[in-house]
Amino acid sequence: MEEVLFFVSAIGALGGAIGVVAMRNPFYSVLALIVHLFSLAALFLLLASAFVAAAQVVVYAGAVMVLYVFVVAYVGGGGESAWEPIPGQRLLAPALAIALFVELSIAILSSALLALGTEGPEVGPGFGNPEAIGKLLLEKFLIPFEASSILLLLAAIGAIVLAGRKREETA
């Protein structure tokens, strides 16, 4: 059962990813990413990370993707030409990506870390639930937590600065 779920989700995630890369129209890419994100959330659930999965769906697939859709709609999602202006890019890019994957896989598969070959230790039901995560966020990771909030604030300012109508221009 778990295997089936994994493969289904994995194929969804990978297919979504490939869709993102392959779709001519940015709008379809966004849709592919949403597929990808949902599949990923399923994988998180398989890994006993309920809170992360939930956040993934709510924050990402919900909020961020909506933003994307709006922007794509605003600027218009014309497709891009197939012409490649950078010599060698078309050949090197896949080659490097494959090399990257191979290297990472070698690193993972040849690692002496025994736990990699297991499904992970038995964990209690509380593992990965909002309470546990919240506790960690407020105890050990208080600073990153606070910093993230500042980061969001800064991003908001940034969005205004970059995309907002300028006072000078309106005045």
Partner: protein, 669 residues
């Protein structure tokens, strides 16, 4: 006053004279400057006499003294003091130098009167005398080199005295450079002496030498050969002689003083001074003797065909110095030095007279154009004749005694050395011929244009002065040869100098008549007391037989000259036609200049050109431009990679990452 104090005074006066005249060139009236110059040398001569008397008052064995003023450069085991060495040899040299110099100064006083560089001339001349005295009085090899080089410099300055004449400056340069080659030889010799003997001082060096060296050991031979380089360069021996004829570009008193009487004899002095070394290195001594012999013959042959009056006398000088070098090299020290002295008298005289005539010829030195000066300049021609007789070794004159003494010694030394006697006599014959060739071409006959003018009006009306060598107009800014220059026999100082020298040339030999007085060899005996070679004396009979042969050859030579140039004036042309190759060889001075040009000057210039055009551009700059080019092209690559495409940047980032990961993966296994 000790002998050394006199010696210091001898050095002091000319130096002072030079400085005073030099500094006062704007203040001092010309006559005063000339007087100061002449007087200071005269005083030096007087001091030389003082030293002579001092030494005479001493035991012959004790007649050598060293004295030093201050440490010149004495550290690290090199003990170089500012010191003099006084012994009969140096006193003899001092007297010859100052004596002849005084007269030549006197001559110059008149001769240079109309020259705009009068002060400069006397300053140089005094400096030259100072240098020459330093050379002969120096107490160690370093100071010897200093004097040696000073002489060379003074010679340079005086040769290129008329410095707007390109021929003169070039001749000066040539003389200087060749002299420097000589200095280099001497310096290397000094190094080798120091290495083997640990000292530069004469006294200790000569004392130690016989203990340290075995006869003909390579070191001592090398030392002697290096000394010979110095000696040959200065004394214009083969193959370093080419500067001397060119040096005739200088004013005539200069030729008279430097290039006849004093400087060129320095080599003779040097060999005599270091005879200890040469006796330890007989091979080197023999080489030296042969070079002397070769020089005397070759120079004699060239003198036979020279048409330039001064250059002919210059070649004669070379030839005569060949005798001296030969003499001192085979061991005839006092004979060689005796010839040095007599030669100084008659050759200085010949030059003075020649100078007088040339002045009368409006600076034309070509004997083909001269004739009849016997009438036009009676006093001068008598002086010229006296000098010529002495040079030709006419019986009874000074040259007669001194030359034969050398040849007699060689005969007495026996063995191989007889060659020197035989060929020496051949040289003597040639000498007589070329000497009287000059006499017969210049003095008798129908007066030429200039001579006639002299007879008529008492002086020569000059045209625009031209360089006798190239014929180009002179730049008269510098003075002589200026338009107002007509000094032929013009003043009493010239006459006085020539007069005294004429007398000396005629009777100077009397102080050393074999078996009669031997003043000179007795005086010099202490210097050579330990020398086995000096102990050889030709027997009285050998001496007189030699004198007889010499006298006969001299008269034969004069007759031959008379026959060729007076009785049968067409013969020379006939001979030239018959012996064309030989004549060409002689006229071209045996092609020595060309040889040196080919072997040294051209290669040096070629190397210089190569260095300048090829090496500097290609290698040295190439080093720079090559490196710079590499760096710049690397920069080009970096900037080409920076193509502005953000995806390209990402690609490189990923590639870098892949590479780094690969490295780590490899290093993990």
């Amino acid at each position: 006053m000790t002998a050394t104090s006199w010696a210091w005074l001898v050095l002091l006066f000319p130096l002072l004279g030079s400085i005073v005249i030099g500094l006062g060139f704007k203040v001092l009236p010309a006559k005063v400057a000339g007087a100061i110059g002449t007087l200071s040398i005269g005083l030096a001569f007087a001091c030389g006499i003082g030293a002579l008397l001092c030494l005479l008052g001493e035991d012959p064995e004790a007649r050598h003294h060293a004295s030093s003023l201050w440490d010149y450069a004495s550290v690290a085991g090199l003990d170089i003091k500012l010191g003099v060495y006084v012994d009969p040899l140096s006193v003899f040299m001092v007297l010859v130098v100052t004596g002849v110099s005084t007269l030549i100064h006197l001559y110059s006083y008149g001769y240079m009167q109309s020259d705009k560089g009068y002060h400069r001339f006397f300053s140089y001349l005094n400096f030259f005398v100072f240098s020459m005295l330093l050379l002969v009085l120096a107490g160690n090899f370093v100071l010897l080199i200093v004097g040696w080089a000073f002489v060379g410099f003074a010679s340079y300055a005086l040769i290129s005295f008329w410095y707007r004449r390109e021929t003169a400056t070039r001749a000066g340069m040539k003389a200087f450079v060749i002299n420097v080659v000589g200095d280099v030889g001497l310096t290397l010799a000094a190094f080798l002496i120091f290495r083997e003997l640990g000292t530069f001082d004469y006294g200790p060096a000569f004392e130690k030498a016989p203990e340290v060296f075995t006869t003909n050991e390579w070191t001592i031979t090398a030392i002697c050969l290096l000394l010979l380089v110095g000696a040959f360069a200065k004394s214009a021996q083969l193959p370093f002689h080419t500067w001397l004829p060119d040096a005739m570009e200088g004013p005539t008193p200069v030729s008279s003083l430097i290039h006849a009487a004093t400087m060129v004899t320095a080599g003779v002095y040097l060999i005599a001074r270091t005879h200890v070394f040469f006796e330890l290195a007989p091979t080197a001594a023999d080489i030296s003797a042969f070079v002397g012999l070769a020089t005397l013959l070759i120079a004699g042959t060239i003198a036979l065909v020279m048409t330039d009056l001064k250059r002919a006398i210059a070649y004669s000088t070379m030839s005569q110095i060949g005798y001296m070098i030969m003499g001192v090299s085979i061991g005839a020290y006092s004979a060689g030095l005796f010839h040095l002295m007599t030669h100084a008298f008659f050759k200085a005289l010949l030059f003075m007279a020649a100078g007088s005539i040339i002045a009368g010829m409006a600076n034309n030195q070509n004997i083909d154009k001269m004739s009849g000066f016997g009438k036009a300049m009676r006093f001068t021609s008598i002086a010229f004749l006296c000098g010529a007789l002495a040079l030709a070794a006419f019986p009874g004159t000074s040259g007669f005694f001194s030359k034969d003494e050398i040849l007699a010694y060689a005969e007495a030394r026996g063995g191989m050395y007889v060659i020197f006697t035989v060929l020496g006599y051949v040289g003597a014959l040639i000498t007589a011929v070329y000497t009287f060739r000059l006499v017969f071409r210049v003095l008798p006959g129908v007066p030429c244009k200039e001579a006639q003018e002299l007879i008529d009006s008492g002086h020569v009306a000059h045209e625009e002065p031209r360089n006798p060598a190239t014929g180009e107009l002179e730049d008269t800014d510098v003075g002589f040869p200026g338009a107002t220059h007509h000094v032929a026999e013009g003043s009493w100082p010239m006459k006085a100098a020539m007069g005294v020298l004429s007398v000396l040339a005629l009777i100077g030999g009397l102080i050393q008549i074999p078996g009669v007085d031997d003043v000179l060899s007795k005086w010099l005996d202490p210097v050579f007391e330990n020398s086995p070679l000096a102990a050889i004396h030709p027997s009285l009979s050998t001496d007189w037989i030699g004198l007889g042969i010499g006298g006969a050859l001299s008269i034969l030579g004069i007759w031959l000259a008379h026959f060729l140039y007076v009785q049968q004036p067409t013969t020379p042309a006939y001979l030239i036609e018959k012996l064309r190759p030989l004549y060409t060889l002689f006229v071209n001075k045996w092609y020595f200049d060309e040889l040196i040009d080919l072997l040294i000057v051209r290669p040096a210039l070629a190397i210089g050109r190569f260095a300048n055009r090829v090496f500097e551009r290609v290698v040295v700059d190439g080093l720079v431009t090559g490196t710079e080019g590499t760096v710049r092209s690397a920069g080009g690559v970096v900037r080409a990679v920076q193509n502005g495409f953000v995806r390209s940047y990402a690609l490189l980032l990923v590639a870098g990452f892949a590479g780094l990961a690969l490295y780590f993966l490899i290093s993990s296994s």
